[in-house]
Every structure is written in C-alpha cells, then in structure tokens.
Amino acid sequence: MTDASVTRNATPTQAAPTRPLWTLARREALAGSLFVAPQLLGVAVFVLLPLALVFWYSLHEWNVLANTFEFTGVQNYQALLEDTTLPPVLMASAIFAAGLVVFNLSLALLLAVLLNQKLLGITAFRTFFFSPVVVSLVAWTIVWGFLLQHNGGINGVLKLAGIEGPNWLRSPGTAMASVIVVQVFKNVGLNMILFLAALQGVPRELYEAARIDGASAWRQFRRITLPLISPTILLTSVITVVGALQVFAQIAVLTQGGPGQSTTVLVYYLYQQTFQFHRFGYGSTLAIVLFAIVALLTLAQWQLRRRFVFQEQ
C-alpha cells in the first residue's frame, strides 16, 4: 500500500520506485525512541547530571553560609583521609551492615523453613511475619523508640522478670544493636518470602533419597537445602547490605547518630556535614565514597547473579 502511493507521487523520470519514507524499521525506531524518551531523559536529568555535579562539587570548597565556592582540586579527598571522624563512621556503617545481614538472613531462613511446613493456618503466620514491611517506616521506628526508652515497655517486661534493663538507645553498647534489631524486624519479611520461594524450588525427591539413606533432618538441611538455596543467600546478602548502606530515617529518629558517634553511619554523616554544617563540598566527597561502595557491591551482585544463573542452566 505504501509502495503504491509512493510510486504514484514519483516523477516520471525516476524509473525505479523510491523506497518508502516510513519503512517498518523506521517506524519501529521512532516508536522505540518515543517509548523510552521519558525514562531516558529522566535518568539524564535526575541521575547522570547530579552524579557529574556531585563529582564536580567534591573538587570545591563550598560553604553556603559563607557563600564561598572555590576550586580546591583533590583537597576534599585529602581531608577525607585526615578526617578522624570518618574511620568510626565507616566502622559504624560496616557494623550496621554486617549485623543486619547476619541477623536478618538467619531469621529470614528460620522463618522460611517454619513457613514451609505443612501446618494449618500457615498463611496467617506468613501474613503476620510480613506485616511490618507495609507499616510506615517512621511509624515503626517511633514505636520501637518508645518501647526502647529507659522506662519503656521492654524494660518494663524485663523488670517483671527481675532484670534491670539498660537505656537501650543511649548506651554505647546497646544503641547500635537496638537500631539493627528494629530494622531487622521491619524488613525481614521480604527476605523470608525470597527464601520460602527458594525452599519450595528444591526438588522433593532429593529429601526422599536422603531419608532412605538415613540422613537426619539437620544433615538434610546442611547437605541439600543450604547448597541449593545458596544463590538466594548470596543475592539477599548483597541486597540487604546495599539497603543497609542507605539507612537514614531509623538513625535520625532513634539515636541521631549517638551516643558519641557510635551509630553515625555514612548517609547520616553525609547529611550532617551537608545540611547541618553546610559543607556542601565535603558532603559531596562523602557522597562519592557512598557511590563507590554501593556501585561496587551492586556490580558484584550482577556478576554473581550471572554466574549462578549460568550454573542453574
């Protein structure tokens, strides 16, 4: 049809029919570009441009209050090395991430194994274990903050048992552990569901064969379940670590980084330096550090995923 119309419009001197302007390939190209345009433009303006800017800012001494913006080269990066607060901050981030991963994953796996049993009403349990995921993050954090007060509900229950509880959020030894626990119960439901799906993917015949061979339940778990769900364990670990590095609201609400610097994680430190001390240049340098860590971990996850998907095939 298109060919016919083009031939009709062609001048008599052109013997061969010209190619139609809107070939299928061109229409596809146009449609494709239009479909992805909003997302592509969005990424350019709200992700890539700010990333370039944050790098540019990190090369400047920039104090908003004093209204100074001077190019200082790598000076902020040198300041990074000399910043005596930074090692404890990175340490706090590492402790938070490590504690979260260990506690979150072991609890998620335990819950998934329990939910994988054939029991009446198991769906109701699944719903309850999952419910904190949909509770507003700050609401959840406030309630736990309330429970963890020195004269709060948790110490009240402990006192009934004759134990004098610490001031959870204000003692150096317990503040970080408290923040980790609050975060684990908030989000462990997500990993629990991922593990449950992985457990249900393990072929039943393997367990039957093992049982015939007289393997105990624990041995079956160690030798069959764990190896077969190891891809899920790796993936949830990385997802949980990346999530842990972005934690902010919980710290801001529960401890404000204290006592001392014990719960000042990287994003909270970045926020303090930038928006409380108005050091936008140094704040940007900290953002580059955060970017480097998150990007490395995410790339590692993609690599691992590719390898495991390959192995599964």
């Binding site: 596809e28 479909f35 592509l40 507003s136 309330f146 936008f280």
Partner: protein, 279 residues
C-alpha cells in the same frame, strides 16, 4: 511427599512461631493501645497491655498541633501521582526495551540501568542545588519528579522489561499483520496482560513514596507542606522531647490504612513485593 507431622512436632512448631511472632506483632499492638492511654499510663509499671480507659484526646491534638489533615493529604496525593507516573514511564520504557527492536536499544538500556547503581542519597546534594536554582525548594515538585523520572523509576522499568520479555511474540504478530501501531498494541494487548507486574510496581512504588524521609526533610521547611514521616517526628514538647501519646496516635493514623489494605490484599502484596525484591 511429606506426610502430616506428628502432633507433638506440630505443637512445638506452633509454639515456636507464636513466640517469634511477638516482635512482629506486638509493636503495632503497643502503638495502637498506647495512643489511647491517658498520659499517666504511658510509662506505667507494670506495662499496661490494655488502657484502663480510652483517652482519645491525643487524636484531637494530632490535628490541632500540626496541620495533620493537610500533611496526610500531601503524602496521599504525592504517593498517588508518583505511583501513576512511575507506572506510565516504566511500563512504556520497559515495553520498548523488551519488545521493540530499535538502534541503540541495548546501549540505552545500559545507560538507564546505571540508575540502579546510584541511590538518591548519593545525588541529594546536587539535586537540592538544581531544584534551588529552579526555585522549587520547599515545594512538592522534587518529591514528585525525582521518583517518577529518577533512580526509583529505573528499578520499575527493569521489572516491567523482565515481564514483557516473557510475553509470547505471537500475541503481537496478529495485531501487527492487522496494521495496528505500536502504541495501540502496547495499550490494548501488552498492558492488560501486564497486570500482575503493574500491581507489583504500584505496591512497591506507593510504599517507597509513603516512607520517603530524607528527601522531604531536605526539601521542605513549611509544616503545611510536610509529608507524614516528617510530620510524625515533629510532635515534640518545648524541650524537643517526643510527646509520645500524640506521636503514637499520628503513627497509628499513618500505619493503619496501609495495614488494612494489606490484610485485604495480602497475597498481591507479598507476591508483588517478593517479585520486586529480586533485582
């Protein structure tokens, strides 16, 4: 197949699960009951599981101390617009990357995926400066535009692409033979089939927007513009200490509607969020 477990094992498993349930369920219970406790009972010893009498005054104060109804509306409409916008942008981009062969598609997809490497915490400083230059600080624009077009949407695009890739090509072939354009095919064939993926993205995006905390406290300074997470922390006394019963009442009002929707549609929530959990 597994047989039924022996009764004693069953009882032990139920007992263990009920014990484990406490830290998941009790905080919500404590939040709701403490929000109607008289102020004298808030820190009473022994802890009161049930208030001696319901004192609803904290719920009145929630609305008088702050423009809470307005803040509720702010959170609700921002979450609604962000969810709809993300569904539009992500489903179109995801569809194109999965189904349309066009030059540069793979390279562009890699460019978009870089958004997954860059959490918004990294770019918050320049984003603040950009919106300040446009005179849009202390408005809702950054809270709407950044999620719809920026890093959070990239994740949604990725989910949508993974879904559209699984659609069999024959479904579209017939329509293309009939001469239907790409947009028509997308809207009348692909999109209706994508309902489960769209539901996942919608739930994930809504919760993300509803929970957003860093962006509001960076961009907003006028209480009538605040969103809920930010407003919750503002119920403090003259010394900056939290007014617990009022905070808990506000927290209850924030958490309960979503929890109720979850209870009704828990299957969609759990499957949807588990689906998006696997990046």
């Amino acid at each position: 197949m597994h047989g039924r477990l022996p009764p004693r094992t069953q009882a032990a498993l139920y007992g263990l699960m009920c014990l484990l349930l406490v830290p998941f369920v009790f905080p919500t219970w404590w939040m709701v009951t403490s929000s109607v406790k008289p102020i004298s009972e808030i820190f009473a010893f022994p802890p009161q599981l049930w208030p001696t009498h319901a004192d609803w005054s904290s719920y009145q104060q929630v609305f008088t101390l702050q423009p809470f109804a307005r803040q509720y509306w702010n959170s609700a409409w921002i979450a609604a617009v962000v969810t709809l916008g993300t569904l539009g942008v992500a489903s179109m981009a995801g569809y194109a990357f999965a189904r349309i062969r066009f030059p540069g598609a793979n390279a562009l997809f890699v460019v978009v995926l870089t958004g997954l490497l860059i959490p918004s915490e990294v770019t918050i400083v320049p984003l603040f400066q950009m919106f300040r230059a446009m005179g849009l600080v202390n408005t809702h624009w950054p809270l709407v535009l950044i999620p719809i077009f920026g890093a959070p949407c990239v994740f949604a695009t990725f989910i949508m692409r993974q879904f559209f890739i699984t659609l069999p090509a024959e479904l579209e072939e017939a329509a293309r033979v009939d001469g239907l354009g790409r947009f028509k095919i997308f809207r009348t064939i692909a999109l209706p089939l994508a309902r489960p993926a769209l539901a996942s993205v919608a739930i994930f995006t809504f919760l993300h927007s509803w929970n957003l905390y860093l962006e509001p406290i960076v961009f907003l300074s006028t209480p009538s513009l605040f969103t809920l997470p930010q407003a919750l922390t503002q119920f403090t006394d003259a010394y900056g200490g939290p007014m617990w019963n009022i905070q808990l009442a506000a927290a209850t009002l924030t958490a309960l509607p979503v929890l109720l929707v979850f209870v009704v549609a828990q299957k969609q929530f759990i499957e949807g969020l588990a689906h998006t959990g696997l990046k």
